[in-house]
Amino acid sequence: MTPLLTVENLSVGFGRADPVVRDVSFEIMPGQTLALVGESGSGKTVTCRAILRILPRVARIHSGRILLNGRDGPRDLATLSQRDLRAVRGDTVSMIFQEPMRSLSPLHTLGNQVAEVLWLHRGASGGDAKKQVLDTFARVGFPDPERAYGSYPFEMSGGMRQRAMIAMAMVGKPDLLIADEPTTALDVTTQAQVLGLIKELQQETGMAMILVTHDLGVVANMAEQVVVMHKGRVMESGAAAAVLGDPAHPYTRQLFDAAPAIPANPEFVPEPPHDDLILELKNVNKTYTMRAKSSWKAQVLIRACRGVDLALPRGTTLAIVGESGSGKTTAARIALGAERPDEGGEVLFKPERGSAAIAVHDLNRTARTAFQKQAQMVFQDPYSSLSPRMRILDALCEPLEIHGIGSSSERRDRAAQMLAQVGLTSDMLMRYPHAFSGGQRQRLSIARALMLNPSLLVCDEPTSALDVSVQEQILCLLEDIRDRLGLSYLFISHDLAVVARIADEVAVMRQGLVVEQAPPETLFHNPRHPYTKALIAAQPTPDINRPINLKLVAQGAGAPESWPEAFRFSETVVPSLMQVEPGHKVRCHV
């Protein structure tokens, strides 16, 4: 059988700099899925874009051939004229870009944007095209295709938008689909739905796919072939089973080792003593009134947190998981005093064992300063949490400056020391953040958080923007610091595997409510709440032998109304958190 697409010795570079993709070769058979894996910045996206020649203006294909054996016979896409290329794009080969929100025009309806493919390539008339689009919308799982057709992107959730993108790519029935991290922005259940959908469609149409991802779990579930990339080069490639089962290249091995997973065999650890709580959230509610932005609309009440009770024993890690928008960040901000809970909620912080509790929900100026010294935050996005106009040194010293600690040379020494602690070298002090990789930047922000010697660190999804190997490094670092410095973490994530790795206790949130709370071992092996169950089921593992049932998972936890009677909650009626076994609480009616 002839391969559908053959990439031979592809090198792509920006301007006059060294190529960022070097000598990449791979081939895809019709109907197959090829996964392109590798850490962030390894050249996955550039490779994909080079295939359709949708590259920034400064980029140049230095060498290589891209042979497409499509409907019109074999052709080299690298040298094809723009006009002919246009006929290929969206027709034989279609592409899904990384970010679904921004990849859709905000001012045109989904229907319009999707149907356009048909107008362009099939010469379909309006009504005809609309019928096909509605069909495809139904296929990709829009409950109401007609409504979706007339909707604008921002009226849809991220998952819906991603479906629309898929529909757009599929509606022309291409031979090859290039999907660039189609699920990174989605939470696990939605991710599972989307992946399941793609797979299903693929089986139906016999389309080949290049799937770009850095999530090995996804690879294990989707791909027949794997190409592992690192710094623009192919490290290893071959059949998925072989590569995943027995990685040959040290990089691949390292990568796979790093991948966290929910442990298969629970080892029960004795419950730590709960007498010394560093942080306690009692009955924390937070309601945002969205000042109706357009004044003619009614105000919207958003209940970001509802009756959250959490306790963090000193020296441990409390993790909060839950889908996007479930109130995790809000809870963290309240814990840090950056936001005041609604009347009645309390946040108590004990800087040291036995000392008097600080009421974080009600701080005056001096108390706030004192508290801010003790509690620090590590942000989710390593790219935007450091000011691009500040040297590393200034960024690290800033907390000290604000609190007026030390002379400038002392600050400098401390900064150097902190850098060493997070594994960086002190010659980086004079550099600017943009010279660093994401992992390095996340280390920098951890270093900055540690500058004041805090006792509590709130980490808001500190690794979700990083790829697995870097994520692993950061997690190790965090663990190491916790153990060495006796820190306590409030750790926020939506990745269960990460949480399983680091947390002593996990709280699962959904729509502002904590629905289940337990130590990870208990939680992952005896989940009670349907939402928790769905979450766990949707977590893909990088093991070909343990595929997740995409079909099943795709249904997700569904809306609370569809849950068993005992777990249902609504805006007004909320069951309370019940202790079902020691240390395991579930929100249900008894």
């Binding site: 794009r89 921004r102 025009s105 993108m165 357009s294 004044s295």
Partner: protein, 342 residues
Amino acid sequence: MQILRYAVYRFGTMLLTLLVVSALIFAIINLPPGDYLSNQIAELKSTGQSAGVAKAEFLRKEYALDRPLWEQYLIWVGFAPGPHGFSGLIQGNFGWSFEFDRPVAEIVGDSLWLTVLVNLAAVLFVYMVALPLGVLAAARSRTWVDYSSAFVGYLGLATPNFLLALILFYYGHRYMNLPIGGLMDPSFEGQPMSWDKVQSILWHLIVPTFVIGTSGAAAMMQRLRANMLDELGKPYVETAIAKGMSPRRMLTKYPLRVAFNPFVADIGNLLPSMVSGSVLVSVVLGLQTIGPTLLTALRAQDQFLAGFVLMFVALLTLIGTMISDVLLVLLDPRIRYEGRDA
């Protein structure tokens, strides 16, 4: 119901703003030393035309110009009674123009539609020139196409309007027999609309349109280009390319559509800038628009006329802002759903 509430709220702020604006306008008009009548009297006396003085004295009394400023203001707006009872702006009395010696309303009425006409033509011209050039410049940014369109645009912007007008008139008349000045052949004035009249107006509009338009076109072009460039960097443009769209079609369907919104948002500002912007041109070209009237009024401190024109412009601006808000909501579905920060 909600919309009604919103409308009432907007109307309330508008009234408040208008009130502040009216005080401001009154202050501005009276900032230069003296007032129309005292200047007039001084002028008459210095040229020995004693005959006119009596009339000026009469007007000074009649329009309460002998009272303190704050009282004059209240009388003008209609909050306080004048020599003949309440008759200010809010009572619908717009006052008297000393310069033209007739009611303000009469003077403004005439020139208003001409202002609209001239500026409409100029705006059309601006759009006709700036749209294609701006889009082209963005699509071919940093190439000679871009640079030369910027050059052409800025040539128009940087050439002082009054000189350009003079040059165009002179040579236009000389080589193309274009009319010099005015907005129509005087013989059509006061005549009902006819094909000949329309032709005459169009013929007269050529130079003014060009002169007013060139300066606007450059600014518009550059803004459009910048907006377009911003939009062109967005991923949805790549999506469109990945669909296999041709660049031209893609350009007009997606980024242009988005880049255009800021212009709608600007409708409210169109009017004051039209009035200000075309004053110089109108003065040079002798167009009977509101601009020169305003300039004369301001220069001569013909306070009721100037005050009324300014109030009128301010009111239209505020209304224009409201309209552009509504238009934006209609045009940009995002705002319809998410609301927009003020």
